[in-house]
């Protein structure tokens, strides 16, 4: 999250928006967003409906949800998707920005 925050300008520069979705409730989201000064929308999904729809994985041994990151083009198609196999298995900004650059380069 800190990584996305620090790189946020690189995303907005490329006409991309970041939406962060999590299982915590609104209250926890609000305090986390304030504490960490996150510039993009944080979307609490306490019913986990969206998480389920996107098949975010839950690993009981690793005590929690596995990270899931995806890039969507302007038509709403998935152009990159990464299901993390561990808590820290999150694509770096460069990987995401590269996908975005390719989308911007191709005439959509």
């Amino acid at each position: 999250m800190a990584r996305l925050r620090d790189g946020y300008q690189e995303f907005t520069k490329r006409d991309a928006e970041i939406l962060a979705i999590g299982p915590d409730n609104l209250e926890k989201f609000v305090s986390y967003w304030e504490e960490n000064d996150l510039p993009f929308p944080g979307l609490p999904d306490p019913q986990k409906q969206v998480s389920k729809t996107y098949k975010q994985e839950i690993n009981l041994f690793k005590l929690g949800r596995m990270p899931l990151n995806t890039v969507l083009d302007r038509k709403g198609h998935i152009r990159f998707i990464h299901y993390g196999y561990s808590m820290s298995d999150i694509p770096d900004n460069e990987t995401l920005l590269e996908v975005i650059d390719q989308l911007n380069a191709s005439s959509e």
């Binding site: 999250m1 996305l4 995303f11 490329r14 006409d15 991309a16 928006e17 970041i18 939406l19 962060a20 979705i21 999590g22 299982p23 915590d24 609104l26 926890k28 989201f29 609000v30 986390y32 967003w33 929308p41 944080g42 979307l43 609490p44 999904d45 409906q49 969206v50 998480s51 729809t53 996107y54 098949k55 975010q56 929690g64 949800r65 596995m66 990270p67 899931l68 990151n69 995806t70 890039v71 969507l72 083009d73 302007r74 038509k75 709403g76 198609h77 998935i78 152009r79 990159f80 998707i81 299901y83 808590m87 995401l96 975005i100 989308l103 911007n104």
Partner: protein, 44 residues
């Protein structure tokens, strides 16, 4: 086990409210922005 989503698929639509109470519907971004969705683990 549930089948994962794959590249090339249409991203399922959703609508959620952000920390400021503003509603975000994914399909509203269509034709407007490239979207990065980050599904979090949950705050510890």
């Amino acid at each position: 086990m549930t089948k994962k989503l794959m590249q090339g698929q249409h991203a399922p639509d959703f609508e959620l409210q952000d920390t400021n109470g503003k509603s975000h519907r994914l399909s509203d971004y269509r034709g407007q922005k490239i979207i990065v969705l980050a599904f979090l683990r949950g705050f510890m």
